[in-house]
Symmetry: C2
Subunit: 405 residues, 2 copies
């Protein structure tokens, strides 16, 4: 059983029964493969008698996207498993518990979160999550600070960065986020109605300069261990609970990339509210809720990060140099805004889109939404190096939204 | 013979005889241990009959500095050997040729450069090296560009960075350059006559902010494979030839750290000219020669780097984004100036000094020189983020020199 091969549901059950204390002796388990089959197998394994259940996730040795298939390292299962365990230590309760990892099978057995919903779906269903900003700001502050040179032993950090070397998954990001949307690439995918917008992206030199600078940060700034793919599809949520999943893109990179990913995906949903809400007033309310969440997210993140810096800073001169913490957080906000912009743009013209927008059935409304998203994305990218406060992000979004596009 | 132990001269000879084609069959070799014994054994092994000779360098499992001894990884021999081989491919003729590497014995066998002198000694002997700027700018441009995301496959770069993870040697730099000189640390070492200068360093908040920012770059910016210790004691030279040695500190860091190291050590020599030259006029001439060399070094480096960018750039958007190359080089110059400043300061108040200054026998002249060096170092650190051209570095040095200190 230990040589790699994609598991059958029967094998998934057999493995589950060998794992101690997950299920009662002699339990009669059922298995259901619930993955989308593009990157991983995901088995939901449950014992109807005891009501216990687990998730078993197995990496596939290839990625399938829109019919294309290319080989992809199984080592990402190790990275995901190790990142989940580390995140669980740093941000208890905010990631699924890992019960077991099998390197040969590229297999992680973890907590079943079926009582949660994928946040992207929850937002599309008009749910609100009053604790989300509190939870995600804790997750971000704890994982970013304590894996950085600011909050851990700096020699151990270098060994950890070595352990999370993740070239294949990074390349996906480098291509799909920081290159392809800004040229007429085969991988791009966009509605013909906005071809003018796509062409404008390909010819905007000032934008390319900012993207090149942000790309450089993604390539070279080993600031902290990132989740690396922190969109609302990687978040399981209820009004009371937030669980971050799927850190297979984890690597040492710029902190703002993770924070920007969350904000970008809230903003992508923001652009789509006229579709999901039943009337203009409730759409307006929901947009306000989203912008308030973004402001709260950053504000709480900054507060928590500053507290950690003061109370747990491991770098003597970083801790004591006057003004350094303020400059650090200002640059982090700038990175966050820039990366958020890049993450928005790629979801409209790049390979991978978001359901928030793609599920809008009315083509005119969808086009309007896509143009608004691109306008916000480009504005944030161009704002990034000048930004001094989160209010500038909010007002940039509001200004873009006020213009009839 | 393959289990690690420090070699005797006899063993060094025996190993030499097993290496093919280095010496004629049955050669009668002589060996001389010429290392300082602090970090490595260095055997000079020669065959008087044929006139052939080699250097055999073996890492010791500890470092000895001013009586203290602490354990140090033998893996640095692998890093040094692999860095030398890579540098030799990228900058042919500018590093010693590596004939053999033995991992178990932490041993590198390489070209004998006894016909060269250590550049620091050469400068102290008033020699001039008219080809140095040309050579070192080639070395820097070639090694930094082609190991960065700008000039190589970006996935291979990540694997290479992993291979050059070098926490123990980096820690020496992080402590001795980016921390200790800015606090009353036990490791500091300075003449009592300049205690006021040392205390001023410990209390200069604006300086600490700049050092914290430069330290952050050293810790997190994995831009290119650095030599990591590129002072004039790591350069063998003649008027015709330049050979860079001892890259045991090699790791992926900010490019400006290597360029700044060279400039700092030329400037340290610059401050000491009144001692080494026989009269004021020749000291003035020599200072001019050194400043001209620094300007030429940067100017040629920039030209070569720009040519590589245009002709061999591997990053599409970096290559095409308007203005990116200019911004890149401006930031690189700023880093260079900041790191040069840090490297000067640490050589006056930190643990490891330079002979250029320490060998000045007249205590008043030595004190004057040390104060000048600190003035230049601090000024460069404070200039770094504002600098736009190499002329600003030159004029900062001249201004500091003009003030009677």
């Amino acid at each position: 059983m230990s040589t790699y091969h994609p598991l059958t549901e029967r094998e998934a059950i057999e493995i589950s029964l060998t794992l101690k204390e997950l299920f009662p002796e002699g339990a009669e388990l059922t298995s259901r493969e619930i993955g989308d089959g593009n990157l991983n197998l995901v088995f939901h394994i449950s014992d109807p008698a005891s009501g216990r259940s687990i998730i078993m996730k197995q990496a596939l040795p290839y990625a399938k996207v829109v019919g294309e298939s290319w080989p992809l390292t199984l080592d990402r299962a190790r990275i995901e498993s190790e990142a989940l365990i580390l995140e669980g230590e740093l941000a208890p309760g905010l990631v699924p518990q890992v019960y077991h990892y099998d390197a040969e099978l590229a297999l992680t057995v973890m907590e079943d979160l079926s009582n949660h919903v994928i946040m992207r779906q929850g937002l599309m269903q008009n749910n609100r999550y009053p604790l989300f900003a509190e939870h995600i700001s804790t997750f971000l502050a704890q994982t970013l600070f304590f894996t950085s040179d600011l909050g851990m032993n700096q020699q151990e950090k270098k060994l950890r960065a070595r352990n999370f070397t993740n070239p294949e998954l990074c390349k996906i990001t480098e291509d799909l986020i920081f290159d392809d949307p800004y040229r007429d690439a085969d991988t791009n995918s966009f509605d013909e109605a906005i071809r003018d917008e796509a062409a404008a992206l390909w010819n905007d030199g000032a934008l390319h300069l900012e993207v090149a600078l942000l790309r450089e940060k993604f390539l070279t700034h080993a600031q902290a261990l990132l989740h690396g793919d922190l969109h609302t599809g990687s978040i399981f949520i209820t009004p009371q609970s937030t669980k971050i999943i799927d850190p297979e893109f984890a690597y040492y990179g710029p902190m703002g990339f993770d924070i920007g990913a969350v904000i970008a995906n809230l903003l992508l949903n923001y652009t789509s509210r006229d579709h999901w809400n039943s009337d203009a007033a409730s759409a307006h309310d929901y947009r306000t809720y989203l912008l308030d969440s973004i402001r709260e997210l950053w504000t709480k993140f900054e507060l928590k990060f500053r507290t950690l810096w003061t109370e747990h800073g491991s770098d003597r001169i970083a801790k004591s140099a006057p003004g350094y913490i303020d400059l650090y957080l200002q640059r982090l906000l700038q990175d966050t805004i820039g990366f958020a912009g890049c993450k928005i743009v790629r979801r409209v013209v790049g390979l991978a889109h978001v359901a928030d927008i793609d599920k809008i059935s009315d083509s005119s409304q969808r086009e309007h939404t896509q143009r608004l998203a691109l306008s916000i994305g480009k504005s944030l990218i161009k704002l990034n190096r000048r930004a001094k406060s989160i209010d500038e992000l909010i007002s940039t979004v509001q200004t873009a939204s006020a213009v009839k596009v």
